[in-house]
């Protein structure tokens, strides 16, 4: 393990990789500050750039963007009450009231310190948890992998919010259907290409990610007419001091510690992500607070700001555990990173830290650097980064569209891909209007090929019998967890319905599967 850490440290401190962390954090902060664009869109926009880099640098850049975007989202939550992504919605509950009390500087500093501590604690736990889990998962067989993928797909659906489970499952199946387009790797026959040579290689992951997240998100803002809204000016003279007193630090320290560990654990669960972690941590902290303190929540309580901020960053780190050790993404953003790793020819999973220790360890170590960069560089530069938001929307939107489109075109040099992007964006908008979540589709698409291969292998080994699902204890265990995860949410809802005898209102639109990740 020590060898691995040293390898990772050597890779992570290479000047170019350090530059990638800094660039990633800046770019992420800027994109994250734009309302409507969250970490998923930010990471998706970076994919074309990372194709020109080596795998470690590419993943380091994406991890930096991920952190930056979460931090950028917090900044716009605090300053203008417009969360850039779902995971920072809770930040605005107490962050914005603080800004209204002319304590925006303090709120930003506290958000940065909490994020830093959350991320750091997360990175340290990841340092020990990931290799331990990876060594256990080395004994996994194709049947276990198949079961794990089923677990990953069902977990994302299960955490999609009340009333969204069926829709999320349908989207997962839709993603799996899209994954079957192209040449079947085992037999070499083409499927669903309808004689079009451009479809023989299937639909590229980059195209799908860019069309459903970058392009569709931007076009949705146009559809809703948000491009006509003027960005609320951030009055930087009202920032106030960025210093926290000793009493304030002592007051929030236990909250940050608790929420970081809690956030990390929630982030590790496949499917749960930073949004759920931040909401739960906020709720937990409010329950733990004294009756007098409870009244302050929502009116600028420091604990109410520190809890979600540390939890969402720790959860972002935690979501890397299933990605790096099992090859199963814990969130929408890590799903995109999984796709990027596969595009590099790297198979994330238990063999990653044996076959590509430099990628495995440098990602973990650069996460710590990322947190450091956010604290040291981004915080003082917030007033300047936020000036970029002054670019008028009619100018900014076509530029984002241009980067999304050319990002895909410059990889394939095939204009057919741009036509496909326009078509997929139109379909994505239609599905968004019907409130279908997009992340499960992307996850289904990414895991589709792997799942088919593992299922094919497992079935061939067991001579066509599905007995492998219950004969191997480990497979049975994972399948059982998947079933439990899938059955429990609808059961709880049914029970509630029978108690109240009324249909329950739908869950919040900003479900985990949609907004963040």
């Amino acid at each position: 393990m020590l060898d691995g850490i040293i390898t990772g440290l050597t890779t992570a401190v290479m000047p170019f990789n350090l530059l990638m962390v800094v660039v990633g954090c800046f770019a992420g902060t800027f994109i994250g500050m734009l309302p409507g664009l969250g970490p998923i869109s930010a990471v998706a926009l970076m994919i074309p750039i990372t194709y020109g880099l080596d795998p470690s640098s590419g993943i380091i850049l994406m991890a930096g963007v991920y952190y930056g975007a979460v931090f950028g989202g917090s900044t716009s939550s605090i300053l203008i009450n417009a969360p850039g992504c779902a995971s920072t919605v809770v930040t605005s509950f107490d962050g914005y009231p603080l800004a209204q009390q002319k304590q925006a500087g303090k709120a930003l500093a506290l958000a940065a310190y909490s994020s830093f501590t959350g991320g750091t604690i997360g990175a340290i736990v990841l340092l020990f948890a990931a290799p331990a889990l990876a060594s256990v998962s080395l004994s996994f067989q194709s049947s276990d992998y198949f079961a794990l993928m089923i677990l990953g797909l069902t977990a994302v659906a299960a955490f999609s919010g009340k009333g969204q489970v069926i829709k999320a499952l349908i989207m997962t199946v839709f993603g799996l259907m899209i994954a079957t387009i192209g040449t079947d790797v085992t037999s070499g026959t083409t499927r669903f290409t309808f004689g079009n040579v451009n479809l023989i290689d299937g639909i590229s992951f980059l195209l799908l990610a860019m069309a459903t997240f970058a392009l569709a998100e931007v076009v949705m803002t146009v559809l809703k007419g948000q491009h006509r809204e003027k960005e609320e000016a951030m009055d930087m003279s009202q920032l106030g001091s960025m210093k926290l007193s000793k009493e304030e630090i002592l007051h929030v320290a236990p909250t940050i510690g608790r929420s970081s560990i809690f956030g990390f654990l929630v982030g590790v669960l496949p499917g749960a992500g930073a949004t759920i972690a931040s909401f739960l941590a906020y709720g937990l902290e409010r329950n733990l607070a004294s009756a007098k303190e409870k009244l302050k929540f929502g009116k600028g309580a420091l604990r109410g700001l520190a809890a979600p901020e540390s939890a969402n960053n720790a959860a972002s780190t935690g979501s890397f555990v299933p990605l790096l050790t099992l090859g199963i993404p814990g969130s929408g953003t890590t799903a995109i990173m999984l796709g990027a790793l596969i595009a590099y020819g790297i198979q994330p999973g238990p063999r990653l830290f044996i076959d590509n220790p430099d990628v495995f360890w440098s990602v973990i170590i650069s996460m710590y650097f990322g947190n450091l960069v956010l604290l040291i560089l981004n915080l003082p530069l917030i007033p300047y980064i936020s000036r970029l938001l002054a670019i008028p929307r009619p100018i900014l939107i076509p530029l984002i569209l241009f980067f999304s489109i050319t990002g895909v075109y410059l990889v394939s040099f095939n204009s057919f891909d741009i036509h496909m992007m326009a078509l997929i964006t139109a379909i994505a908008i239609f599905l968004k209007l019907l409130e279908f979540p997009m992340a499960p589709m992307l996850l289904g698409f990414i895991l589709g090929g792997l799942m088919e291969n593992n299922l094919s292998r497992a079935l061939t080994i067991s001579d066509g019998s599905f007995a492998f699902l219950w004969e191997r204890p480990l497979t049975l265990g994972i399948v059982s967890v998947a079933l439990i995860v899938l059955i429990i949410p609808p059961l709880i809802e049914l029970l509630r319905r029978s108690k109240t005898k009324e249909p329950l209102p739908r869950g919040p639109e900003t479900s985990i599967s949609e907004g963040e990740g």
Binding site: G52, G163, I166, K167, L169, I170, V173, F174, L176, M177, T180, D184, T186, S187, T189, T190, R191, F192, V219, V222, L223, K224, G225, H227, P394, I395, I397, P398, L401, F402, I405, T406, Y409, L410, F413, S415, F416, I418, H419, M421, A422, T425, A426, I429, L431, L433, L434, E435, F436, E452, L455, S456, L459, T460, D463, G464, S465, P503, P505, R506
Partner: protein
Amino acid sequence: MTLSKDHIGGLVFLALSATYGYYAGHIALLPGDEFEPFHAQSLPNALAILGALLSIVLLLTANRSPGSTLSLTGYDFRLVTQLLVLVVAFALALDWVGFFIATIFFLIGGYWLLGERRIKTLLVASVPFAGGIWFVLTQLLDIYLAPGQLFTHLFGG
């Protein structure tokens, strides 16, 4: 009966699953594949059945509350359609007039559609940007960008 978002979604996916299942049956199999436990049609067939079942479940459990119907008011579909047409036109322009001119055309078109009418802004925010990107790609990153079929036809390849 009012048609809610869930009903529309369920019906769309039911139709999709049926069509997908129909074409799944047309996937060519290698000789003897039909006796294998797993072949090119296996997963598509399973997905078609699963998709249809889930769509039916969605239709049966659909949310029927008054706020669940699809309301299309307040959305600017015209502008979005124009933007998507611009994207398609950009793809065609890339093939015919090359990257540099297509980029200028796309950016000016995009700014114009979103309400920017000042000629100076339209030009300043597009031409130097397109030139800069073209320079970075071709000169710094050494990426070959085809000049466009129109120029190849006019001046030879």
